[in-house]
């Protein structure tokens, strides 16, 4: 039984890590095809990707859209969670349902809906249109995380602050937001990741100012190349660094 467990673990971890190992390993490939036998190492594909103007442009676009749309989603989600956790409003359940609803709808459908409406209104595809779509997909996530994180002790602290004469804005930004800091950071970071990695909305709603996944997609059409491995490895490295940073700064439990 124990040995069976070990065999299973080795098999499943091989399965999970195989594509990542192949991706990173063959980004150092010397010849033009990222398939065995491995004949590297070389950094020339990294040099090529970093000197690729349209790739770097796409990287900047992605970063801009991710950080901006996540900030808007976080603000809207935070305010909504504040409002709905404070008092029971008529139609509370309906409002919560509406705010969560986009979570269960495919990104493709959200993208198609926005494309249809923007077409009718004569709004051209752009980075901004993509940003609007990314707020739609991240708002439910931010709302759900923050709503779940708001508890009674927080309501009490807010009430106390109000009794002591704090204004509404002071309560929200000096009491509620600091108390929810881990949840806020988690929601923000997740939203940034989802927006950064999102393909179909960006694909349908941008034309010239494309994001990184769309740029990588068009790179795939010209066939396999170690350059694609290189940009993929860079993206992976950035995500992992962010994750580790977040893990040691925000989520590290105080030693007890």
């Amino acid at each position: 039984m124990r040995r069976l467990g070990w065999i299973y673990l080795i098999a499943i971890f091989t399965f999970i890590f195989l594509p990542v190992i192949v991706l990173v390993l063959f980004s150092f490939q010397d010849s033009r095809l990222p398939v065995p036998p491995f004949d590297g190492p070389t950094l020339k594909w990294y040099v090529q990707v970093i000197n690729d103007r349209s790739m770097m442009e796409a990287l900047r676009n992605s970063a801009f859209v991710a950080f901006t749309s996540a900030a808007i989603a976080l603000l809207l989600g935070f305010l909504a969670a504040q409002g709905l956790s404070r008092v029971i409003l008529p139609g509370s359940v309906l409002m919560r349902g509406l705010l969560i609803a986009p979570m269960t709808v495919s990104y493709l459908i959200i993208a198609l809906g926005l494309l249809t409406v923007f077409n009718n209104l004569g709004i051209r595809p752009s980075l901004w249109a993509t940003g609007v779509g990314h707020v739609v997909i991240n708002l439910p996530l931010c709302f759900a995380i923050l709503f779940a994180a708001m508890g009674d002790h927080q309501k009490n602290a807010e009430r106390a602050a109000r009794d002591l004469g704090a204004s509404e804005l002071q309560v929200v930004f000096l009491i509620s937001a600091p108390m929810l800091k881990p949840a806020l950071l988690a929601a923000y970071f997740l939203s940034v990741t989802f927006s950064w990695d999102e393909f179909i909305i960006a694909f349908l709603l941008t034309r010239f100012d494309v994001t990184l996944p769309v740029e990588i997609w068009s790179m795939l059409r010209s066939g396999l190349s170690p350059a694609t491995n290189a940009i993929g490895s860079i993206v992976f490295l950035v995500s992992i660094s962010l994750l580790v940073l977040l893990e040691i700064t925000v989520f590290r439990k105080p030693k007890s």
Binding site: P19, P36, P102, L108, A148, I216, L220
Partner: protein, 284 residues
């Protein structure tokens, strides 16, 4: 009374921006799309005819109806395989790994989650291709004489999907497992259950919420995904998202693309209705 009234007005003010955003950029677009699905294309002009022509076409023409069947078959296969592979992994991490290292183990198990989605499908294309490491490796150790065609088949699509969703399900099942009190297992052991019986009749049913939440997420994300089938599965058989993109790309048939989207959405709603009683969504 007026104080409470004032309080409510304020609370509503907080919720309003998010509601307006969701209505303007989600609800209304969806309504417009639903309306558009009742139109049809003449040449390049969209004629709003308010008929069910597109839907009749979807359910009667084999080329359209087949995409529904293909999508459902792939999605159900992926969901079942992912649950079967993820559960033991989650269980081993939750019960066999010392608590101090569990967080590290789970982060390691889902590390490839953080590669870009498009890049992950591309990486599988590298791995599974005719000259990829799997085929070359199998030929190298003498199990195969020549490479088998996996790329551009359904098998490749399923492998790519299962890889992603095993990680997702491991997370949902693991978080369910660690919330279970160890007393359940102790009580079962006291009552004479063997290790296997405890696992099968006590622990497994208690993880049903985690399994169902993950399975529902898998279903929704899998059936609506365009990238994985497009990169790994090729164009031999089309899934619904691939067919939708084809309608848009080839002749700008927005009405048909909308109708297909509505059908896709209806399938997801049915899946939700089927799993709703296990989903712990009332918390959010």
């Amino acid at each position: 009374m007026t104080l409470e009234h004032e309080e409510r007005r304020r609370a509503f003010g907080f919720v309003a921006p998010a509601l307006i955003w969701t209505c303007a950029f989600f609800l209304i677009p969806f309504a417009v799309m639903a309306l558009l699905s009742l139109a049809h294309l003449e040449g390049r002009a969209i004629i709003q005819s308010y008929d069910l022509g597109n839907y009749i076409k979807i359910f009667t023409e084999p080329s359209f109806f087949k995409s529904i069947v293909v999508s459902l078959e792939i999605t159900l296969t992926v969901t079942v395989l992912s649950v079967l592979l993820a559960w033991p992994l989650a269980w081993i991490i939750a019960t066999q790994v010392p608590p101090h290292y569990q967080r590290l183990a789970i982060m390691l198990a889902v590390l490839p989650f953080w590669t870009s989605y498009v890049v992950r499908s591309y990486a599988w294309a590298l791995v599974l291709g005719q000259n990829g490491v799997v085929m070359q490796g199998l030929i190298g150790i003498g199990l195969l004489d020549e490479p088998i065609q996996i790329m551009a088949t359904r098998t490749a699509t399923v492998i790519g999907f299962v890889h992603f969703f095993v990680m997702l399900l491991t997370l949902t099942i693991y978080s369910n497992l660690i919330q279970l009190s160890p007393n359940y297992a102790r009580a079962a052991a006291d009552l004479g259950a063997s290790g296997w019986q405890t696992l099968r009749h006590v622990i497994l049913p208690l993880t049903l919420p985690g399994i169902m939440t993950g399975a529902f997420l898998t279903f929704v994300l899998c059936i609506g995904d365009y990238i994985t089938p497009q990169i790994l599965g090729g164009n031999n058989e089309l899934t619904m998202p691939q067919l939708i993109m084809l309608q848009l790309g080839r002749r700008g048939d927005f009405p048909m693309a909308s109708a297909l989207s509505v059908v896709l959405m209806a399938i997801v709603t049915l899946a939700y209705a089927a799993t709703a009683r296990w989903l712990k969504m009332e918390r959010v």
